[in-house]
Amino acid sequence: MGALPWSSLAQIPPWELDAFARTLVAVSFFAIGLAILMPLLREHQWANGMGLATAVIFLSTGVRSAWMAYDLFQEGPAADALRSLTGTWDAALDLVTAIAGLYYWTLRRGFGHYVRGAKLFEDMRERQRQALEIHDNIVQGLTVALMALDLDEPERARESLDETMVAAKRIISSRLGPDRKIPVFDSDLRRTSTPPPLGSQP
């Protein structure tokens, strides 16, 4: 009983299996490429080279697979040669690629919130936002304090340092504190890097 489907499968010419696999690859990879590209375009992330390159890899692989599947169904000596050169291993490899593409979509459905808009790129945007927050709150405040000291304005420097300290505490608390969705463990605050030697600059 169980051997029947396999024996039927074995009677299918490898090029037909390969054409089927390539069609699946084309659909799944093109869809993955669009799923990565669309959020980047929506958020105007033109400078996100890594995201755009990943999208282009998937899209071009999808187009190429569709093209090759199409070629397998053409008439003429070139298409005959292509069909005769397509072996079982070609079909098997393309089936593995197709399965990987389809598996990606099952994962994406199951963990949609993790891959929404391609999580990697959202992380990059979040890091950019955090860097600007530090610039606006810390670097600007320290700039004012340093220049005020140069201009012999200690009160202004002190005021700016106080404001910078408040901003720094707020930024740190927002990363570690009430907004955190998971419990804080004692070991969470263990440093993994050596603190800079404050005051050691000449």
Binding site: V144, L146, D150, E153
Partner: protein, 130 residues
């Protein structure tokens, strides 16, 4: 009689503008004729005031410094444009110079150094090479 160079300050943090104004007017021969807190206001004021120097921040609301810079350079080829920013490691300096800035200075440097660097832009006989 001293010739005071006319300066437009562009930074979204009022405190930064205040200490820059104090530094330029106390330590150098500059007169701050205008201040802007965002890119669009900076462009409007630059066209109207035609300052000798534009001190430009990069991270600002409405339009960032790198967006504003090429237009300022086109409109005011004689003005010295100095970018003063806290970004150091992401190529912002090279980008700013490529877009037409005469000088890129990092925030946090001594006030005297900032003022002297801007003054030096006017000591050259020819416009600075970009």
């Amino acid at each position: 009689m001293k010739i005071l160079r006319r300066v437009l300050l562009v930074d979204d943090t009022p405190g930064v503008r205040t200490v820059l104004r104090m530094a330029l007017m106390r330590l150098g021969d500059f007169d701050v004729v205008g201040e802007a807190g965002d890119g669009e206001t900076a462009m409007e004021m630059a066209r109207r005031l035609r300052p000798d120097v534009i001190l430009l921040d990069l991270a600002m609301p409405t339009m960032g410094g790198l967006e504003v810079l090429p237009r300022l350079r086109e409109w005011l080829p004689e003005s010295r444009i100095v970018v003063l920013s806290g970004f150091i490691a992401n190529g912002a300096g090279e980008r700013a110079l490529k877009l037409g800035a005469d000088l890129y200075l990092e925030k946090g440097q001594p006030a005297r150094h900032i003022v002297d660097s801007i003054t030096a832009l006017f000591e050259w006989a020819d416009p600075p090479v970009r």
